[in-house]
Symmetry: C2
Subunit: 110 residues, 2 copies
């Protein structure tokens, strides 16, 4: 006799929902977004990112760690520096699309 049954479709949906939520949470922070926007212009090291975002070194390192753990950025060591870049083109596109969306909303005074 079966007591519990798992609907694969729902399971997948819930897993996806979870992943989607986590993904958006990564983007839902001003410091992290600022860093990501800076990285849209290309790879940079921590000090460089600090300069371009006007954020403290500790904060930038912290948030880069968060972004790195979730594979949103990739890192490369060079001597005592660490260079970071967007992990893939998707991130760039996703952020770009949202920016376009907001710009369009702005135009229509919505």
């Amino acid at each position: 006799m079966m007591v519990l049954s798992y609907d694969t479709a729902i399971m997948k949906t819930n897993t996806t929902l979870d992943a989607l939520t986590s993904f958006y949470k990564l983007l839902a922070n001003e410091s992290r977004l600022s860093i990501l926007l800076a990285l849209r212009d290309g790879e940079d090291n921590v000090a460089g990112i600090c300069g371009r975002t006007a954020l403290s070194q500790t904060l930038v390192s912290h948030q880069l760690a968060v972004l790195h753990r979730s594979d949103v950025v990739r890192s490369r060591k060079d001597g005592r520096r660490t260079f970071y870049a967007l992990a893939d083109k998707h991130i760039d596109i996703i952020v770009g699309f949202a920016l376009d969306h907001l710009a369009e909303k702005e135009l229509h005074h919505e």
Copy 2:
């Protein structure tokens, strides 16, 4: 003598950054995302959304209010019911794109 000067470019950037952060914050919640995913299938009223998301009426109403205030969804009254729908096609596309991104990541075991 000028004490403060405002760089228009930076101002715009900060405003945009702010708007972008707010936008992603709207999406960075499991209940709200669940509702938005349900609405991708088309307009529905509160009770319908509750059924499809398995969320309480209060929670759904609460989050719909949040989404409505930010123009992510639009509403239409019909008798004692209120029907909600995605405000525009962009939201649909943006969520769809993120879903694709996650699916692709999944495929590559990243």
